[in-house]
Assembly symmetry: none
Homo-oligomer: 195 residues x 4
């Protein structure tokens, strides 16, 4: 019989890779990176331990690939790729999108917070993360400048920290932290909407 075609193999690979990454993310996020063993991941994904190493070089590589993919997704959402200045409408939109994102990608975020203090991982990801971070800050600074604020950088940093803190609080105890009812207050405090 003829062997599978290149494309068939490619498809199998993509499917399996996604399965493994999803399963691993789930476990990493809920139990932590170190306490999650390769065996556990393989069992939950219904594959053999060995197969995992067909797709990822190591446990660390698996984590990194998950994180990178997640980061890329976030960048896609966060970054309006807007070289000009945000309109006020865009700004309001931006806030609600981020907060929605946190709720939807709950697992990713949990993983992020859990993993950013793993020294080794952080080392590798921090570069990408800081890129995202500084883009966001720059965008905000521009917005505040265009609104004539005296200390646009401080505003931007503070606002960034606030979003971070909200995400963190929500991830830690979703039932205690009512994201929705806060948006209006945020708008009042950080959007400087001209009436």
């Amino acid at each position: 019989m003829a062997p599978r075609t290149e494309e068939q193999f490619e498809e199998i690979r993509e499917t399996k890779k996604a399965l493994i990454m999803d399963t691993a993310m789930e476990l990493f996020a809920s139990e932590g990176y170190h306490p999650t063993s390769i065996s556990k991941i393989a069992k939950k994904a219904n594959i053999s331990k060995g197969l995992l190493y067909n797709y990822f070089e190591s446990k660390e590589d698996l984590l990194l690939k998950i994180m990178t993919a997640g980061l890329a997704e976030m960048i896609a959402v966060f970054d309006p790729d807007n070289d000009g200045v945000l309109t006020e409408e865009e700004m309001v939109n931006f806030i609600s999108e981020i907060l929605q994102m946190v709720k939807r990608k709950h697992k990713y975020w949990k993983l992020y917070y859990a993993v950013f203090f793993q020294p080794k991982v952080n080392e590798i990801l921090s570069e990408k993360f800081e890129e995202l971070y500084s883009k966001m800050v720059a965008m905000l600074v521009e917005y505040y400048k265009s609104h004539g604020l005296e200390k646009p950088v401080q505003e931007a940093l503070l606002f960034g920290a606030l979003l971070d803190g909200m995400a963190f609080n929500y991830i830690m105890s979703p039932e205690l932290f009512p994201i929705e009812i806060l948006t209006e207050t945020i708008k009042d405090k950080f959007c400087y909407i001209r009436k």
Copy 2:
């Protein structure tokens, strides 16, 4: 030599225990909990592995004791144990004290963030933590109420999140996050000082 008295023994015990906890915290914070082995802690503390088990039941127990002690210390600082309403001066004071605390107890905070997603740890600490958290929020709510704000709860939650986010950002990259220059802006935004 005269045999040591009961109290002397007790003192030795306390000193050793503190030494072990400090050493362990240092390592946990800088290398992570799981990657830090008991051997490494013992070596750095210049004691034998066996002795460590004389003071702590297990590695997890050690971590928990460190975390609990740290939390207690923070509670002592954060909680003015003030049943009345904060004055504006106290409020301003409170902010700068918290931020100073983050800088001073850098290691503790790092450990907290790194370890809060370990299910077991979280389970045990979350109760105490939430107690602290809700006390803080209540205090802030009172403050905002007394200043006639419309949505005192939202204000309080937002402010709490902001402080969290600042701590988080500072811990992650102290060189990128200039805590000091932000206090003024915070004051403007969250203290509602009556001129």
Copy 3:
């Protein structure tokens, strides 16, 4: 296209088999038998892992087939199939041929030495090897007898050992062991040329 004939298939098979054996030998010799994985061999030979098992039953079988083939080649060179006594000229020739052989088939020899202490390999090859060995010794014994030496067996064993030792030294560090400049001395010591 016309279907291939039986012979063409056979030819393809032989070519592939030879390719695999050559590739494997190369790797076994340079990296060692155990550290060389089937994957690596397949990759270097530009075939799939599966195909290799179409030609060889197992990794061990592959090794054995390589060794056997190599041994056969050597036997063909070493054994003049001469039932009579070597002439002096033949003897001199014999020496230089062996030494040339070592240089040419460098890889084979390296593999031999590396692998001769693997119990299983030794088990299977030792019979053939001893056949070769005793033939060589017998031939030499005859030669020495015909030259009237008192202890022809000792001479033969010693000479055999010397050749072995030279091969061994050359294989281990070719740059340190100058085979060529030794032939004359060997001739003086072991050929007993009648002037």
Copy 4:
């Protein structure tokens, strides 16, 4: 109760280390380095797998330590630490000592031959080995020079190779290679005893 003294610990360590090295050497020599698992060594030595790593950093380290120790022993025997020229008597002595050594330290030699073609190991040991080798050659060269031979270097290299070959043959099949009855012939051929 008081802990053991430093010396007691040291003694335990030395004893265990020797036990492990002996056991491992036995197995490495008879089954080969790679096919011998740490588990097997531990089981045969009646210790836990873990303990082995209390004494040796890795399997490779264990092998290296065994080899180095063996090499040191051989150097001690081979090297007369004689800056002057060997007397004829010493030379004869030297030969029989080496051959006895091969018989006595059978296991070590087998390990040497089996392991010298493991690329990684060789890399590390070759330096030490060459030191020994060149010392031996130098010693022999001096001897031959003092006996007025035309080509002392060739003589020395050849003699060295012969000894190597004899050792190799003996190790491979002791029953086929009668070391004892060869010494006289060696003496005749390589000692140049002045009558």
